[in-house]
Symmetry: C2
Subunit: 131 residues, 2 copies
């Protein structure tokens, strides 16, 4: 892992035959800086909700709004807060370890997450005061 990486947007769209639609592609350690160990996605969320509200000690992840809109607030340990709006399926947000993140969902949003580690509750920082 590159310790200097900060949250940033990545465009995964690849060129191709657009007559049958568009394609976005991610390859491990090629256009993302880690190997994918776990994939999860949300669906059927009612109205607007907020997920996240935690940080990770080690986990890196990519978030994509496959449908609808996600507004992601990320905060680093030195206190800088950045807001990212994800509203197109070809763009993902890289979130490094030790960034607190909240995701506000539009009422039809579908969030895909690609994560660098298997699930491990001890990697979560769930209390903002601990962060």
């Amino acid at each position: 892992m590159n310790e200097n990486l900060k949250p940033h947007l990545i465009d995964f769209r690849i060129s191709g035959n657009t007559e049958i639609g568009y394609l976005a592609v991610i390859e491990n350690n090629k256009n993302i800086p880690f190997d994918i160990k776990r994939v999860f996605w949300t669906y059927y969320n009612p109205d607007m909700i907020t997920r996240g509200r935690h940080a990770h000690y080690k986990l890196e992840q990519i978030l994509v709004a496959m449908a609808g809109k996600l507004t992601v607030l990320s905060e680093g340990i030195n206190g800088e807060v950045t807001t990212y709006v994800l509203d197109t399926p070809n763009v993902g947000l890289y979130i490094p370890p030790m960034y607190w993140h909240d995701m506000e969902f539009s009422d039809n949003a579908l969030m895909l997450s690609l994560a660098s580690l298997p699930y491990d509750e001890s990697d979560y920082i769930r209390k903002y005061d601990d962060f």
Copy 2:
């Protein structure tokens, strides 16, 4: 890889707090039989289209209809054809190597694919006669 695996559906839904929606989770070699090396998804496809029309020598993959409906026809080398309808975001279809597959998209379908290998054109069998 288990050579005896055939195409089959897998439910990725996990239980949890459904007041904020639902969650589906995949972990490498836990509820799928391979490590994810590549992820791709389609979006903005116009009207009904068909993708696929190929088989792979080695690649294994999971297909999920994140939105809309996918009708997947899979054919093994001994000629048996099975049709799978994917229309809920928590269910994926495992496709082993050496299965020809066609995917018919509804006009708002969004297909997620999780694949066991990086992109390699030499792994594709694109002519049905070769299959």
